[in-house]
Symmetry: D2
Subunit: 344 residues, 4 copies
Amino acid sequence: MNTLDVKTLNVGIIGYGYWGPNLTRNFFEIPMSELVAISDLKGDRLQRARTLYPDVVTTPDYTELFDMDLDAVVISTPPATHYPLAKECLEHGLHVLVEKPLTLNSEHAEELINLAASKGLTLMVGHTFEYNSAVMALKNYINNGELGDIYYLDAARLNLGLFQKDSNVLWDLAPHDISILLYLLGEKPISVSAQGMQSIFEGIYDVAYMNLVFPNRVSAYIHVSWLDPCKVRRVTVVGSKKMIVYNDMEAEQKLKIYDKGVDMPTYTNGGFSEFLCSYRSGDILIPKIQLVEPLRQECQHFLDSIVNHEPPCSDGDDGLSVIKILEAAQRSMANGSTHEVIQW
Amino acid sequence: MNTLDVKTLNVGIIGYGYWGPNLTRNFFEIPMSELVAISDLKGDRLQRARTLYPDVVTTPDYTELFDMDLDAVVISTPPATHYPLAKECLEHGLHVLVEKPLTLNSEHAEELINLAASKGLTLMVGHTFEYNSAVMALKNYINNGELGDIYYLDAARLNLGLFQKDSNVLWDLAPHDISILLYLLGEKPISVSAQGMQSIFEGIYDVAYMNLVFPNRVSAYIHVSWLDPCKVRRVTVVGSKKMIVYNDMEAEQKLKIYDKGVDMPTYTNGGFSEFLCSYRSGDILIPKIQLVEPLRQECQHFLDSIVNHEPPCSDGDDGLSVIKILEAAQRSMANGSTHEVIQW
Amino acid sequence: MNTLDVKTLNVGIIGYGYWGPNLTRNFFEIPMSELVAISDLKGDRLQRARTLYPDVVTTPDYTELFDMDLDAVVISTPPATHYPLAKECLEHGLHVLVEKPLTLNSEHAEELINLAASKGLTLMVGHTFEYNSAVMALKNYINNGELGDIYYLDAARLNLGLFQKDSNVLWDLAPHDISILLYLLGEKPISVSAQGMQSIFEGIYDVAYMNLVFPNRVSAYIHVSWLDPCKVRRVTVVGSKKMIVYNDMEAEQKLKIYDKGVDMPTYTNGGFSEFLCSYRSGDILIPKIQLVEPLRQECQHFLDSIVNHEPPCSDGDDGLSVIKILEAAQRSMANGSTHEVIQW
Amino acid sequence: MNTLDVKTLNVGIIGYGYWGPNLTRNFFEIPMSELVAISDLKGDRLQRARTLYPDVVTTPDYTELFDMDLDAVVISTPPATHYPLAKECLEHGLHVLVEKPLTLNSEHAEELINLAASKGLTLMVGHTFEYNSAVMALKNYINNGELGDIYYLDAARLNLGLFQKDSNVLWDLAPHDISILLYLLGEKPISVSAQGMQSIFEGIYDVAYMNLVFPNRVSAYIHVSWLDPCKVRRVTVVGSKKMIVYNDMEAEQKLKIYDKGVDMPTYTNGGFSEFLCSYRSGDILIPKIQLVEPLRQECQHFLDSIVNHEPPCSDGDDGLSVIKILEAAQRSMANGSTHEVIQW
């Protein structure tokens, strides 16, 4: 396709609160999109949007966007509104990029997926880390066998968090890590268990630990917290040949590849040795990762998916998978950390 | 008591493998003890001991120690031998310091406790971290209310580990963290759950996650691993006023006190605010901790306990508590991470 | 002054290359200024400016700005053009904020200072670090005696640098550290010496070490490099009571206050002790610094200085001082690191 | 040579203060040496030595060592006594390992070198870092061309230091870095300049900066300080192809190899481009360095040199070179940081 022929897509934003401004800036700057309108219920946010984008329409009434000849809408509103807003946008024939989590339950997610499919529209969820260069490089190392067999993954996302009504630390933070795990492994977990704490407010989980069991005995652990003094964003992948730590808090050195492992004895002399095996500890490599804003790559991918009529990497099914895992984890937390098998 | 009158105690060592040399060096150097004999089954170890301590008796037969007019014996042999060796030593009227874990099951531990009590002998287990200046300072901060109400603790002890037959990562590493938790909180957990992985060898857990539920809804999490690329030894304590991270990998700055927390709103105006509360992030203090070798303090404490006829901090009961928690965790791992209530 | 009465100042930008976009964004966002025009010789830069600020005039000809009823101009062009551009702007009655270094020699700087004074205009140079919250806090600690007597300061600013024609590492990086030192100490150095290396290109210094001697025997050392594998931006201040490290590479913990020092003996018993004194090593405090974009504070300060008819913190004299020190350092490097006394 | 035929060398220690115990422990443990006697003027030190080595002779009178049929003597006394003690030991036909600095002036060092040569004795100085595995690996990287042409080296050795009478920070700390530089480059500097501060005591330099100019325009900078809040031990080597940082404060990851550099333009299109060149930033490699106690390797090397009649790596000439550089630096500091050409 000749780049001169690339259609410019008209984009509207619904929700200009915490994350919306970042999405807005990217769609404003990407040549392939035309930022047409921004909608938010709060006047001060619209005022700020007008300062930055004086030529863009701002309105407290998102339904006005339906009369603006838009191609696509980006929804970054509170999670509870994702479903009705996305549904209405799809019904008006608009492609939709919605922030994570896609919806608050899997029925709603399935409804949106079916609606988008029936209308031939693109439905994408904002799992940013699937567009992160370091995560993409990590997936490459896994796929090309550099790590050997994968034993397990351990993810942590900790910090002091903003407590929100109608949410909890699981739904707020774990979507990131779940989407990373699904993306890295290319598989869905068989079962999930979780336990959580309600330290500050009765009824609001602020610390949670999850376990996901994948096929081939691969396990993954996720620790999320709104109550930790240190900001941590880390995924460790342990394989039979090598181990990788992805530390998103590092400015540049985000991946560290450890030539470490446990070597099994090549023979056992009849009996049983005192130490079953020895460990190997070799070089550490910190590969150069080209730094690109992940959100820029996500926004560009949304536009490309629309134009090329191809499902995006983080499509509705991906969003649904994350929600089904969150639902199972929530059930597990409520039931004393039972193992919840997920029906796919 | 006048220091001139302090009795010098005759000490023997059983087990001169990985940890024994450290215990030996300390009892050799402490003025209050006289290192008399070292026993180990392996000749090369005894050879090395003779090089360092040419005047100390070395023997492959530990029973020879019973004829040497010893006051106390230090046992640092493989865990499976702790019980029979400690029992035999106590029966010979010797005070006993035994490495962690005290025994491999709680019945044996109770038997040793009763035996020591009936004979008026000191039974102490080598929970080193209870004699660590940083852990002691951390307990002080908790006790004097500096942290406010304790919400939870999170401990991690990770590294490439030496796989051993008849052991697993839980029994190898978790005793440290469990003894720290019991010491810090001054309480015993109500229930325990755990899950583990057998990545390398069928039947040997090499990664484990534990949850301990304490009274007053305090929870503690422990992550131990023999399969991690990074050496981690960290305990995070989260309180309502402040949070502390104890990082044992730091050479000097082992404690960091964060003036961080979540402040609840003082009033709610009828409705319900969007954000339930705000977080507070103030100064960080790294207190000067006087560095003393914890093992030196532990060995001295053993000798003092004997002379003063006082139960040591890490006495048999403490060792038993750790074992009952390990047993419950082991049951939980075997049963699919059930919540195991512990009978105290 | 009632904020309702605050005059909005019309601002133009000359130079939209590396740093200009940051200045532009701030003047665009600050309510007290109206961004009117952007000038740059390169079309692609103007194109990018038009994308972000469609309502702002863009032009390759900066002289057009003189017909736009502007109040102030911001100059962020290559250093060699600072003098003629600033001069022309002042002659047209415009207040001027010019990037560092103010000019390439002190005669030109003096001429600009005199010109601004004679016309009653504000002349300010963009020494950003004087508007950095961490540097301001550091100055407070020095001024209120927390550190005791200042012994010396050591500054390092290292990285792989972009080699530029007609510049060198001294003129590129050292203005930051020199302006920080002048600001922190509130004094001007008596003499300067420097040595440099021309590793890559004959005639272009890419590594330099400077020494500044201040009154009261206070010394300061500056190490700047375009050829270092690690990005370093650090100032260490050593006082008789405490020591502070300002590490600008830290995201949040930019200041560390060490209760460390050397205590002199209170008496000497006739002879002379083997060790003259002992060192003291106490707590470390990491104070909470409120993070504000320094450039925002700088831009706001420029506007405030104009409206209030008050000399800015980094006024022309400040810019001149930095240049006289750079000139002396350059002479010293050329003459084999002679000590160059500066006439103030 | 058959290891069964290796002669065991009888070794005596003179000086059991700060560093002596480490030397003593190594010679006690190395099979090839027999630790015979320890001498020190202070009774409490001898008492401690007797506790650790009950079978070794201890005496306050070092001359007693001359009647003990020793092969070699290790001198770790205050620097001012190095010359007379080493001289006396050599005159008694003993091989000598003396702590750095070899002597307090070059005449004395030359005298010892000549004396040892005339008697066919080994004279070695304790430049420990020449026996450090990380430094040895670093030298390998330089020698095999991995770094390309060496541009410069920058070394820092900082901490709170023990102030000593009759010494200063230069003579206390810089011998380490000078010996490292000489070892790494395999060349001697043409000239030296230095500047220092006397912050605490008039007449005692406690902070110093040195510059060493080597052949082929290679420069080296050394920063030593007794007055810094952070413990720093770092050498950076910058080459045309790669750069290496040796950080001795890291427990394991002591070397980091940066594939970074500045690439010169392959052509210039008639004029002169704005940016002369671009920088390249690739992977970082942390090679596995086998950890061996450097002092153990040093002590073994001393014994090997004696037995093999080969000059040690850090022989008298090496010690003399360090002293001549220190003398020149001292002169430079006294004369206002003149460039002192060294006659070799």
